[in-house]
């Protein structure tokens, strides 16, 4: 099955399961604290900011932080592609866009990618906002980011509507929570890549792990077998990683969300996400391309990645159909 479709099904299944759990009081919690009964995996950002805000060593929050960091080392940012509801909510953006739905937005040339440090390897805006979340919790004594967290607001919106119809619970929150959520994803198109402090936390922890990273079989890859530029894997990656040329890639490999779009789109089926991905091989870092080919590939890649990031899944779907 196409990974885009599979991912959408998994994300929706999680939302439906948690909503059914809420309605029938099965006590699964939400993604803010998912689990069963007293055993739950708290959002690492929520756990961190409540410890800071309450200035207390909250045992379950501490245990959660340790467990989550271990999970992140193993699975990296897989949460972002396979569980987080925000990319699904972002699809609603099409309703507010003047462009035809499914059309790929025109890309701007995105400057030099190799001289600036890679996203994920260096600090970026997400990390500052992660620091800001902790700082604001410390100053004001409550987890401020939780008020506007789009993941929390997604479930809040669902539950508010459930409560409105099942219990007649009438409040302005039922209007304001979905509006705030939509505002966040409509006006901040690059929320996940530039703002989300949770994604910053995950990419930091993922630096330590080398599991499930895209690995190319040089025996199949068109660039190594025919010595001509291909670059499709780098173009389609929604996270602007170029698995073939990690040295010139805009993002480092710890940003990989294991979405499998590169695996799906590789014309030679050369990419795999093995459980243990050893260090980047010599052939992968030392590209066999000529200077001209690299330049051509560079501009093409920049255009492709800009579009792919904005409408990554749409693009993937287009290619399939």
């Amino acid at each position: 099955m196409n990974s885009n479709r599979l991912r959408a099904i998994v994300v929706l299944a999680v939302m439906v399961l948690l909503t059914i759990g809420y309605i029938t009081h099965l006590d699964f919690g939400t993604l803010s604290a998912v689990g069963w009964s007293t055993v739950s995996l708290i959002c690492p950002l929520g756990a961190l900011t409540t410890i800071v805000a309450a200035k207390l060593m909250i045992p379950r929050a501490l245990i959660t932080l340790v467990v989550v960091i271990i999970l992140l080392v193993i699975f990296g940012r897989a949460f972002c592609a396979w569980v987080c509801p925000v990319p699904v909510v972002q699809k609603l953006r099409g309703l507010f866009s003047r462009k035809e739905r499914g059309e790929i937005e025109a890309s701007k040339p995105s400057g030099c990618t190799s001289c600036a440090k890679k996203r994920g390897a260096a600090w970026d805006s997400r990390h500052i906002i992660l620091g800001g979340s902790v700082l604001s919790a410390l100053i004001f004594g409550f987890p401020v980011f939780c008020l506007i967290c789009p993941i929390g607001l997604t479930f809040a919106s669902i539950f508010l509507i459930v409560n409105l119809f099942s219990a007649g619970d009438l409040t302005w929150t039922v209007v304001l929570a979905p509006l705030l959520l939509l505002g966040e994803v409509v006006f901040f198109r690059k929320w996940c890549a530039q703002i989300c402090p949770l994604s910053a936390f995950m990419s930091l922890a993922a630096k330590k792990g080398r599991f499930f990273r895209p690995t190319i079989d040089d025996g199949k890859c068109l660039e190594t077998t025919t010595n001509k530029p291909c670059g499709i894997c780098g173009e389609v990656c929604p996270e602007t990683i170029d698995p073939r040329h990690p040295n010139t890639s805009k993002s480092a490999l710890n940003e990989c969300t294991k979405c499998r779009v590169c695996v799906d789109n590789c014309p030679a089926q050369a990419i795999k996400l093995p459980i243990w991905a050893p260090k980047v091989t010599q052939s992968q870092s030392a590209t066999p391309l000529t200077q001209e080919a690299q330049e051509a590939e560079g501009t093409e890649g920049a255009q492709g990645t800009e579009g792919a990031r904005g409408a990554g899944s749409a693009r993937g779907a287009n290619k399939k159909s």
């Binding site: 689990g35 604001s136 409550f142």
Partner: protein
């Protein structure tokens, strides 16, 4: 894209902008919030607000369906934090369901709801019941005494005309009286009433019951 210290200038602007926005949002704390009737263990507002990540596990687990997310009308800072709504049932700390340990306290992952070890159901004040004689059916000589029969703590007594009144220092705000009050259902005789004749009021920091008009919680 120009860089300064390994970070692009644009990233710096977005990041600092986001941090400033979060700090600006944090000032809703000083705007304040009206006191609400909170679940057991939520009486310390500082603790509740510091720990609550608005995961709504307490809402989900409550077997009596009385824990509800607070409305934005009661203050932005308290939005979606747990509050009690006694429309259908009341809170007895899950005596039957969990041997007297409230399930909401048990499941709260961040201990935003936390009871001191010596806390007892009788002495932990969730709120205070307030009876409005102008809408109470018993004060119209109907002989209604549902609240008197429902109160588990004998905090409601009947006067010489069989009209109920609340003994304030026995009431812990469990909501049993409010849950059974039929004044609104039979409210044709008390037009203009927007709430039941007996309602559990939230307590302010001094332990005084807060007037119903200033309360924007989930009581309706």
């Amino acid at each position: 894209m120009k860089t300064s210290g390994g970070i692009t200038r644009r990233s710096l602007v977005v990041g600092v902008g986001g941090t400033v926005a979060l700090c600006a949002l944090g000032t809703v704390r000083s705007v304040g919030a009206s006191p609400l009737v909170r679940p057991p263990g939520g009486q310390d507002f500082e603790r509740l607000i510091a720990g609550c990540i608005r995961c709504e596990k307490c809402v989900e687990v409550c077997p009596r369906h009385v824990v509800k997310p607070a409305h934005i009308e009661a203050g932005v800072i308290g939005m979606r934090t747990p509050t009690l709504n006694f429309n259908d049932d009341y809170c007895d700390w899950c005596r039957e369901e969990n041997d007297g340990t409230p399930l909401c306290v048990r499941v709260c992952p961040t201990e935003a709801l936390a009871l001191p070890p010596e806390a007892e159901v009788e002495t932990t004040l969730l709120g205070l019941a307030e009876l409005d004689a102008s809408t109470c059916l018993a004060y119209r000589d109907t002989g209604c005494r549902f609240c008197y029969d429902a109160c588990p703590y004998f905090a409601i007594e009947l006067d010489e005309h069989n009209r109920p009144f609340v003994i304030n220092n026995k009431c812990n705000g469990c909501g049993a009286c409010e849950a059974v009050c039929v004044s609104l259902e039979n409210g044709s005789i008390s037009t203009g009433a927007t709430e039941r004749a007996i309602v559990v009021r939230a307590l302010d920091e001094n332990g005084n019951a807060v007037d119903g008009l200033s309360e924007g919680g989930a009581t309706s």
